[in-house]
């Protein structure tokens, strides 16, 4: 079984203007959404309290809200369904730092007339911890970007590193845009999802770049756009397969993973699609923008090979004792 004819070279570079326009729209659209709608930071990052309740029957939202408003601190609490009609989440911004008080218990007392339920989860995050978690999260994203940049610059060439960063930023922004659009609560799991997307999309990019690097050395063509076409076509099967398989697993996660990982899975779905498309249509053309020169690279490679040969020659002469 095979999906793509491996002989055929698809002209991706011809499609790139259409694809780039789409990327532009998505990218700036995401930025627009991020600025207007904003990210929904969960209590992991803002501090606050979250209580998850599971009712034995459909949760009576109106009654719950009414019962909560009896308490001064809980007046502004948001009550939302979570996963299904039986399960709800109560969120509010306050948090108590006293070990003695138990917010889960006091909410259970307030709501005891609304039906039979079980307190499934109580999360309390103090504002200081929230700050710290957010700073650490941003730090993690920043540091991994820099580490990758350095690795790629050493293994490939600085233009490849730059191109992959452009592509990464593109993916992260679109993923964040989707998070804002779908109003997913940004907490630590979502941060992990975003970082996975970062790694995943990079995977795709690197595999295509690896081919391009190989093509630059071996292709009969010496025009970069033609080499890119060849390389992307050659890796197309792999790209579709791997993306398809990963996407399947994440969709399964989304459908069956339960409401606790729903946001995580949705973020991954968007990120994986964006990452795959961008590694074909953003990363490769970015090499052209940064004016990667095939001839220069070949020249450099040639010199490197020559140097190596000379060294070997010298060594063999030395070993034979002719020097």
């Amino acid at each position: 079984m095979q999906f793509f004819s491996q002989k055929h070279v698809y002209d991706f570079m011809k499609m790139r203007f259409a694809a780039i326009s789409l990327s532009f729209i998505l990218f700036f659209g995401s930025i627009f959404i991020l600025f207007t709608k904003g990210l929904n930071f969960g209590i992991d990052f803002t501090g606050g309290t979250l209580v998850q309740l599971q009712y034995e029957q459909k949760a009576p939202l109106a009654e719950i809200r009414k019962a909560l408003s009896a308490n001064e601190n809980l007046k502004g609490a948001s009550v939302t369904e979570f996963g299904g009609a039986n399960e709800i989440i109560i969120r509010f911004s306050g948090s108590s730092d006293s070990l003695g008080s138990d917010i889960g218990q006091s909410i259970a007392n307030l709501l005891k007339d609304t039906g039979k339920f079980e307190v499934r989860r109580v999360d309390v995050v103090g504002p200081k911890v929230g700050d710290e978690l957010r700073n650490k999260g941003l730090m993690a994203v920043g540091i991994s970007l820099i580490a990758i940049l350095i690795y790629l610059a050493i293994r490939f060439e600085w233009r490849f590193a730059m191109a992959s960063i452009v592509c990464e930023v593109h993916d992260i922004v679109i993923t964040l845009g989707a998070i804002a659009l779908f109003e997913i609560d940004v907490n630590l799991d979502i941060l992990a999802a975003v970082l996975t997307v970062l790694g995943y999309s990079l995977n795709d990019t690197i595999i295509i770049f690896d081919r391009i690097r190989e093509g630059v050395k071996t292709s009969k063509n010496s025009k970069l756009d033609l080499i890119i076409n060849e390389s992307v076509s050659a890796t197309l099967s792999r790209t579709t397969l791997t993306t398809g398989l990963t996407l399947i697993t994440v969709i399964v996660l989304y459908l069956f993973g339960g409401s606790m990982i729903e946001g995580f899975a949705l973020t991954m779905i968007v990120g994986i699609i964006a990452g795959t498309v961008s590694s074909i249509f953003v990363a490769s053309p970015a090499l052209l923008w940064f004016k990667f020169s095939v001839m220069d690279y070949r020249q450099k490679e040639l010199e490197r090979v020559k140097k190596k040969q000379e060294k070997e020659k010298l060594r063999s002469m030395y070993e034979k004792g002719t020097v």
């Binding site: 079984m1 095979q2 491996q6 002989k7 998850q52 599971q54 730092d97 070990l99 003695g100 138990d102 218990q105 079980e118 499934r120 989860r121 109580v122 999360d123 309390v124 995050v125 103090g126 200081k128 911890v129 999260g137 730090m139 993690a140 991994s144 580490a147 990758i148 293994r155 630590l188 799991d189 941060l191 992990a192 970082l195 996975t196 790694g199 990079l202 995977n203 690197i206 595999i207 690896d210 081919r211 190989e214 050659a234 099967s237 792999r238 791997t242 398989l245 990963t246 996407l247 399947i248 697993t249 994440v250 399964v252 996660l253 069956f256 993973g257 606790m260 990982i261 995580f264 899975a265």
Partner: protein
């Protein structure tokens, strides 16, 4: 041998597979003994708390305790001073007799970590910066130790208490089932268990209801409420006679008079001596037994109390008395703790999460496995064997190193299923390419692996970089995810690169003989 040869690759893979199988069995079967994978609190239910230590309080009580022993020594040496005053971080007093300067200086020389200034007869003692730092450090270490001791005695399964960062303590209590248990555990941790024996200020005691705390402080006194009845207030001297740091044991007993639970405590020799001396010199005065700033009883001293034991009686239930005794035995908290973060997950939610992620893991695996066989034929089967080995080894490695499997970790595991076959997809695509160019099967396999290697290595190393960064900067959930992902990546290098190569080599002769690329690679040569 007809079927090809067994190379070092297949041997390595076989060994790895076997290790994975053997060491992951205990995690799958609860009855098996051996290292099991740790389930995170989000998967088994339990309580996770991050506590902050109020180190400033430790400094204050250190100053107080210095003042208390200084006051004891000054009395003993018959030095006459105007009353000793304690501020948050300093002690002040004024000598009345110039001739005592030498004696006081000698006393002060024995106390470490003090910066002493004096104008004429007025002394100011304050803690040095290093001493303050040291006190902070001690307060945290001691809090970790104390909380651990208390929870151990509480009888919970595997409580985990660890220092986290500069001044925080992470407490994890897996398997807390009911809200009452949780409340008891929290109270036990929070209990400062700060026992003080203090002198009641008999002179001004009758004014106690008219004094503000500030006015009381003017006299060097404190106002405390009675533990049973907050209406009753006591005026006590702010410098304690002695405190719980000199306590060696505390046990629950029952009072003879009314059979109510009491706590009997024993003091160490230093404490016993001070207690004996004080009670001997102050017969007729009242002694307040203060626990966590509440007065439990204030008996009048009838005679010198030697032997260094005392009793706290009060409105305890048996359970309370038991918890207070645990708290006293395990030592007072030098500094109070406050809750910075608390996450509690009910056991039913944890069970649901496991069930859901198991379904996701199984579903994803079946789909991926079926697809690989359809697309790549026998090469797909090889990749699938590698995939199964990969999952088993991840579980085995996590069990062996005591890593914790969390919900995001489960997600990482599911994701690994999708990503682990990536290497094999890259390799198989390369093999197909070479076959298309007309290379022999043997050459195609050998060169396929060679060509694919740089792409696989580069992509795996970058993924590894991100997960290491995630681990280093992440907390809790993110760390769990990073652990599974990094182990997955490392293991997949052995299983899907070395392992599948070994399998190809094992079947090489058969492959060449049949020359059916459709069967072996799911691809017909053009």
């Amino acid at each position: 041998m007809r079927s090809g040869k067994i190379t070092y690759r297949s041997i390595i893979f076989f060994v790895v597979f076997l290790i994975g199988l053997v060491f992951s069995i205990p995690s799958f079967m609860q009855t098996q003994s051996g290292a099991k994978i740790n389930l995170g609190l989000d998967l088994q239910g339990g309580l996770h708390m991050l506590l902050g230590v109020e180190v400033e309080e430790a400094v204050k009580s250190k100053v107080k305790s210095i003042a208390s022993s200084l006051s004891y020594s000054i009395n003993k040496e018959d030095i006459i001073v105007d009353k000793i005053k304690v501020n948050d971080t300093s002690i002040e007093f004024t000598l009345l007799d110039e001739n005592d300067i030498a004696k006081v200086d000698l006393l002060l020389k024995d106390i470490k970590g003090l910066a002493i200034t004096h104008e004429n007869l007025h002394y100011t003692l304050s803690l040095t910066q290093e001493e303050i730092k040291l006190t902070h450090e001690q307060a945290i270490l001691q809090a970790v130790e104390t909380i651990r001791n208390r929870l151990d005695q509480f009888g919970l399964a595997e409580p985990n208490v660890a220092r986290s960062g500069e001044d925080k303590i992470l407490v994890e209590l897996p398997g807390i089932k009911t809200a009452t248990d949780e409340a008891r555990a929290r109270e036990l941790i929070a209990k400062a268990a700060h026992l003080q024996l203090m002198e009641v200020d008999d002179v001004r005691m009758d004014q106690v209801n008219n004094l503000t705390p500030a006015q009381a402080a003017e006299y060097g006194d404190l106002i405390f409420e009675d533990a049973k009845n907050p209406q009753i207030k006591y005026l006590v001297k702010s410098i304690p006679i002695l405190d719980g740091s000199m306590l060696t044991d505390a046990k629950v007993g029952f009072a003879q008079s009314n059979n109510l639970p009491v706590i009997n405590f024993t003091l160490n020799s230093e404490g016993a001596k001070k207690f004996g001396d004080y009670t001997g010199n102050n017969v007729g005065k009242r002694l307040a037994i203060v626990l966590d700033n509440k007065v439990y009883s204030a008996p009048r001293i009838n005679e010198r109390i030697g032997g260094g034991s005392g009793q706290i009686s009060g409105s305890f239930t048996v359970e309370e008395a038991h918890d207070v005794a645990i708290a006293l035995r395990s030592g007072a908290l030098l500094a109070p703790v406050k809750m910075l973060e608390k996450r509690s997950v009910g056991p039913s939610l944890g069970a649901d999460s496991i069930k859901m992620s198991m379904i996701a893991l199984a579903g994803a695996s079946i789909l991926v496995i079926a697809f690989m066989v359809m697309y790549y034929g026998i090469a797909g089967i090889f990749a699938n064997i590698a995939l199964v080995a990969n999952i088993l080894v991840i579980i085995a490695v996590m069990a062996m190193f005591g890593a914790t499997l969390t919900l995001p970790g489960m997600a990482g595991l599911v994701l690994t299923v999708g990503m682990a076959v990536d290497s094999n997809v890259i390799i198989n695509e390369r093999i197909r390419e070479l076959l298309r160019e007309g290379a022999s099967i043997r050459q195609s396999v050998e060169n396929g692996y060679k060509h694919a290697m740089s792409a696989i290595l580069d992509s795996n190393i970058t993924s590894l970089i991100t997960s290491v960064v995630l681990y280093a900067y992440g907390t809790g959930a993110v760390k769990g995810f990073a652990v599974t992902l990094s182990i997955g990546i490392l293991v997949s290098m052995i299983t899907s690169i070395v392992g599948t190569h070994g399998m190809f080599e094992m079947f090489m002769n058969r492959m060449e003989k049949s020359n059916n690329t459709r069967l072996w690679f799911g691809y017909r040569r053009p």
